[in-house]
């Protein structure tokens, strides 16, 4: 079976200027050596702190950003042709961002925004297709004439998702789609995404810092730190038997009113991507770090459990 999305040995380097407009340019590696597959119907979660490269990875997968190295394929076809132009297959991948207000046109009604996407999607009966999509995301006809500022955060995100669905995507990339919403609306959106996944056979690449949400929605989880995937495995393995000390630290930061448990101290902040420590980038914050970790960066390999981990001293279950 061909993977729906296949990213191989991908790296993205940005040029940043330091010291004013005439300052020297420095390469900044946002993502390095990332290999990730999403199979049809599968949902993959991507977790990690701000600046770990998860959004860059999502933008590369969606074709918004050209990788500096490596390959990105959608259904076995490169995202861009030999001359660097986007292939039509790119529409099979749609993206939903955190802030729906920024994604919508403030001066267009809900119906007009969705119609525009429906026409691009090639549907013949535009109003019928619009109604079908709006029903799928739980918006009634009374929303047709409304404008984005007249909608709540959850309703706006539903419009964004309806528009994305108009392209008949196979893969929906969601970058923190729930972060700005209330818990009640998050629950509604989670149910909606689970329904869409089932009804449309959608695959999801779901980026979130809310681990409970990732667990509810995803089969597979990749944990990123300082631009690299440091652990990857089934949701059950990652959440119940984390092998990387960083994954364990992230899990211990989950605050939930239903659990009371002693927590290991959480120290430090992610490193500056322009100035990574030698060896393993997590080493300065890691309780298990040794001299080996300062010398050699561990490669992603088979972990003690069933997943893959990049650590010299992984946690054993």
């Amino acid at each position: 079976m061909t993977a729906l999305l296949s990213i191989e040995e991908m790296a993205k380097t940005y040029e940043v200027t330091q010291g004013g407009i005439f300052g020297r340019k420095h390469p900044l590696r946002a993502v390095s050596g990332v290999t990730l597959k999403v199979e049809p119907g599968q949902s993959v979660g991507l977790v990690g702190e701000s600046g770990c490269g998860k959004s860059t990875l999502a933008k590369v997968a969606a074709g918004f950003v050209t990788p500096s190295e490596g390959r990105v394929e959608i259904e076995g076809q490169a995202l861009r042709d030999d001359r660097g132009r986007m292939r039509p297959g790119r529409r099979r991948v749609q993206m939903v961002f955190q802030d729906p207000l920024a994604a919508l046109d403030a001066r267009m009604s809900v119906a007009a925004q969705i119609d525009e996407a429906v026409r691009l999607g090639g549907a013949t009966d535009v109003p019928a297709e619009r109604r079908r999509l709006m029903a799928a995301v739980g918006l009634g006809q009374q929303f047709d004439a409304r404008f984005p500022h007249e909608l709540s955060g959850g309703q706006r995100q539903r419009v964004v998702i309806a528009r994305a669905l108009a392209a008949r995507p196979r893969l929906l990339i969601c970058d923190e789609p729930l972060a700005a919403l209330d818990v009640s609306v998050q629950a509604q959106m989670l149910a909606l995404l689970a329904d869409l996944q089932r009804d449309f056979g959608l695959s999801l690449l779901f980026i979130s810092h809310q681990l409970a949400t990732v667990r509810a929605l995803c089969d597979e989880v990749a944990v990123m730190y300082a631009g690299r995937i440091v652990e990857q495995g089934s949701a059950a393995q990652i959440f119940d038997r984390p092998a990387h000390p960083y994954t364990a630290m992230l899990l211990s930061t989950t605050l939930d009113p239903r659990i009371r448990r002693p927590r290991a101290a959480v120290a430090g902040e992610p490193p500056d991507p322009a100035n990574l420590p030698s060896g393993c980038a997590f080493r300065p914050r890691c309780p298990r770090a040794t001299e080996l970790c300062a010398r050699t960066r561990p490669e992603l390999g088979a972990g003690p459990s069933d997943g893959r981990v990049a650590c010299h001293h992984p946690l054993t279950p």
């Binding site: 959850g154 009640s184 629950a187 992230l250 902040e269």
Partner: protein, 329 residues
Amino acid sequence: MIAAAARAPAPSLDVPAFEVEGLRVMLDNAPLISDATLSVARGECLGVVGESGCGKTVTFLGAMGLLPRRMRVTGRVRLAGEDLLGRTEAQMERIRGRRVGMIFQDPQSGLNPVRTIGRQLIEPLRLHLGLSPRAARDRAVELLSMVGIPTPASRLSAYPHEISGGMAQRVMIAIALASEPEVLIADEPTTALDVTVQLQVLDLIRKIQQDSGLAVIFITHDLGVVAEICQRVTVMYAGHTVETQAVPRAFATPLHPYTDALLRCLPGLDGTLPAFLPGEVPVAGHAPPGCPFHPRCARAGDPCREAMPAGQDRARGRVACHFPLEAAP
């Protein structure tokens, strides 16, 4: 470290550090806040939760005299037993700067981008505590080191854009605590931060609160955060305080169906999808008659459509509901 207790006008221990009773905020004829009642004791952290638009922020802006004039605030607000409503703007300004510290969600917008951190920290020390330039500088370094900023002396000359979001929120806390307030009102101070950084900021607030007897009001929509640092929680819905209970009991056995519904919105710890709470918070001025929660409430009956129940003190806490969830026998 912080001598708030010594500076306060010696309140007796049973007087709450900060108290809001029957607070009402009217915009023209629409109530933004209908009835807010809550209190926080010295050395206590009170969580205030509810969905967006429930009036969490407006309650405290109203209590502290920070709302535009056309919004009328009535009811009672007491700081260590002294009434605050009806004071002049000049008096309120002194109280806000000196006795009640406030921090908000976005630390970068709370800081002045064209002034160094040192200047923003030294100013309240000079103004409110009357310290000499030298003493203010030393105190600023002390405050930065207290909030966990490495090499604090060298950070005084840094501008806000030169520090991370977590560091900026620490600086905001240092500024809010500079004048050694009795009460800290923290409005979603960790919402914009990474989970790891959030935990560090929460640890910091807890430590300061325990060391100094500071009363903390922590406004958030994250029930996990409340469970982490609050001793009690007040739940707001559509401009009413509907429940107050001790933590963690409030989460194990909530009294109000709204609190119960919020808890059910969390995804299961085993990865199951959450139940969902239909509908949305009514817009101010368009609340249905009776209890504003009744259209979304599974327990609603006829009385709920007719009248908003008054808040009642019960053995386990305070609740405003005709059909509260009683503890299972």
